[in-house]
């Protein structure tokens, strides 16, 4: 900054030494943020691909298992997050117009929205945990069967016999010890799978590999929740800076950037909600 200070022309205080103008600086910042958002989308893109592959491989699992998710809580969360996006956009507008107090209030509201989202998420996760509806190895549907009589997310297919529904892998056994070849030379789709599918079609037992759905569910919503937390941290940071009067109509780039990030987090949830909660 020493060079900048010694420059005869007056340079705005917020202008870094290697930029020509505040405009160039803010344009660079925004382009950088957009590129970063693109990387975030690609990060989730991997999970969306995994979702697509597993849904194509196990369609029956997705149709069956999604009913264990609570549509009401998910829907409320969608509304909460959408609202917080609105308050965020409004906060950016206030910053632009120089309304510092309005901006701070709206940022605080946005933060509250994030907090609400995480709270509801916690309630959902806790219910899944209690019922053993977890990923891969930890999937323990037997626990769930006991819990069901105590009720909760009201699984619709309550007419099934309890014992048969605990068909997914025994958590104690990590790996099948029977060689696949024992199933027969020509069996790419072993008869058992065909029988499974037919049985499921008749609604008398759940499909195999239900844990696949919950693995995907926890991965996607978990990574998203981490992003919500990161976004809340960023909002807290601009809120503190805003309270100290760091922003004005001439310089509000950080608020703008955090806003972009928060909208992305919102956008990803808008894809997650129907993909996980509203399967058909």
């Amino acid at each position: 900054m020493s060079r900048a200070a010694s420059d005869p022309r007056a340079r705005p205080a917020r202008l870094q030494h290697h930029f020509e103008s505040l405009e160039q600086q803010s344009e660079s910042g925004k382009l950088g943020m957009w590129i970063f958002l693109a990387t975030e989308i690609l990060l989730f893109g991997g999970l969306f691909c995994a979702y697509a592959v597993y849904r194509a491989n196990h369609p029956e699992v997705f149709v069956y298992a999604h009913r264990y998710l609570d549509k009401v809580l998910g829907g409320v969360n969608t509304v909460v997050l959408l609202t917080s996006s609105l308050t965020m956009a409004w906060a950016v507008r206030c910053a632009q117009l120089g309304k510092a107090r309005g901006m701070s209030a709206l940022l605080a509201l946005t933060l509250l929205g994030g907090l609400g989202f995480m709270g509801i998420k916690f309630v959902e996760y806790e219910a899944k945990w209690k019922h053993g509806l977890l990923w891969g190895k930890r999937f323990q549907p037997a626990l769930h069967e006991e819990a069901r009589s105590g009720q909760d997310p009201g699984p619709p297919a309550a007419d099934r016999e309890p014992q048969r529904s605990s068909r997914s892998p025994d958590p104690g056994v990590e790996r099948s010890t029977v060689p696949p070849s024992a199933r027969g030379p020509r069996g790419t789709v072993p008869a058992e799978v065909a029988r499974q599918r037919a049985a499921y079609a008749r609604r008398d037992e759940p499909p195999r590999n239900v844990q696949v759905f919950f693995g995907i569910y926890f991965l996607m919503t978990g990574l998203h929740a981490l992003h919500v937390l990161a976004g809340m941290g960023a909002i807290g940071w601009v809120l503190v800076r805003g309270l100290r009067g760091a922003f004005g109509p001439a310089y509000y780039l950080p608020v703008d950037l955090v806003g972009l990030y928060w909208h992305l987090v919102d956008l990803i949830w808008i894809f997650l909600f129907p993909l996980l909660y509203l399967v058909h």
Binding site: T177, P180, A182
Partner: protein, 328 residues
């Protein structure tokens, strides 16, 4: 590509397939190997011509236009669209041809003829097991000569890859799914099988043989392999089974170390176990160790042995136990 160079390529390929091993490829031993070799040689020739072109031009320019006092760079055009299009289009045409030939060959490698003889191939750390239609299991792949053989591959642990260089075939064995490969060996002989997908400690020793039996001898081999237990005393049959079932991959019989404990002189003696306990090696212990290997693991060894439950008959267990008794 004019007809003269095509002829040259053909003769190169032909030379490869008839003469046996060239300087750069192993002797072809399957019906499809000749075609693969022909394509390999054709591509190599094209690559070599391009490399020579590049190297010659480079050498020529470096020498002809070397910096000398008083000789500045001569003016030359900084681009020339027809030339640039030409050196994009010609390589493009060549690679299109290569792609097409490769695709044709791949289709053949992929499509076994109807009525091929089928063998199940199972990869596990670190051996191959071949299961024949009559239930015989062997460590080596025995096939009849001049018969298409279809392999159905699977894996019991990690990914392996079934590779027979002499046949120019390779296929991954993936846990949880089946993959296929096929070949037809026109001449009797022995060929190496490798594992080509990295799978841990003894990856490079996960080898086997393909034994191509002459006309008529294959069936004889298969029959004799099937009635092992009927033909010989249990201890002798056990010795055969010990090899066939891959026990010797990990257990030595001469007291040397291995992935599993040696079996020399253990019968009737106590073993210290991993969990600190002790166990006397008797018939029951051996039986349990074959069917439920993790139950009592000897101290100093990892619980890595796969179970043989459902894959071995009681008579075979008896034979193996009898064999172990003979290892004094």
């Amino acid at each position: 590509m004019n007809s003269a160079s095509l002829f040259l390529l053909r003769s190169l390929g032909a030379a490869g397939s008839v003469e046996g091993s060239s300087f750069w490829l192993p002797a072809p031993a399957s019906t499809l190997a000749g075609k693969v070799d022909w394509l390999f040689n054709a591509i190599s020739l094209i690559a070599l011509l391009f490399l020579l072109l590049i190297a010659t031009l480079m050498g020529l320019f470096v020498w002809r236009y070397r910096a000398r006092p008083g000789r500045p760079a001569e003016p030359a055009p900084s681009h020339n669209t027809p030339l640039e299009i030409a050196w994009s289009a010609i390589p493009l045409a060549i690679v299109c041809w290569i792609f097409w030939e490769g695709f044709q060959g791949f289709l053949e490698l992929h499509t076994p003829p109807q009525n091929a003889y089928e063998v199940l191939v199972s990869g596990q750390k670190w051996k191959w097991l071949f299961t024949y239609p009559n239930g015989v299991v062997d460590e080596n792949l025995h096939v009849p000569v001049s018969t298409p053989v279809r392999l159905v591959l699977s894996s019991e642990d990690v990914i392996h890859s079934f590779f027979v260089p002499d046949f120019r075939i390779k296929r991954d064995a993936v846990p949880g799914r089946f993959t296929k490969a096929w070949f037809e060996a026109p001449r009797p002989g022995e060929h190496r099988v490798y594992c080509a997908e990295y799978c841990g400690t003894s990856h490079s020793d996960m080898t086997a043989k393909v034994i191509v039996h002459p006309e008529g001898e294959f069936q004889r081999w298969l029959d004799s392999a099937a009635d092992l237990l009927d033909r010989m005393p249990p201890a002798e049959a056990g010795a055969k089974l010990f090899v066939q079932r891959g026990c010797k991959q990990c257990h030595s019989v001469d007291g040397t170390g291995g992935i599993g404990p040696t079996l020399k002189g253990i019968f009737g003696h106590e073993q210290v176990l991993r969990d600190g306990g002790r166990a006397r090696v008797d018939e029951d212990y051996l039986r349990e160790s074959i069917l439920d290997p993790q139950a009592k693991v000897v101290a100093g060894y990892d619980p890595v042995m796969p179970t043989f439950k459902g894959r071995i008959k009681d008579r075979e267990i008896v034979a193996l136990i009898e064999y172990v008794k003979t290892l004094r």
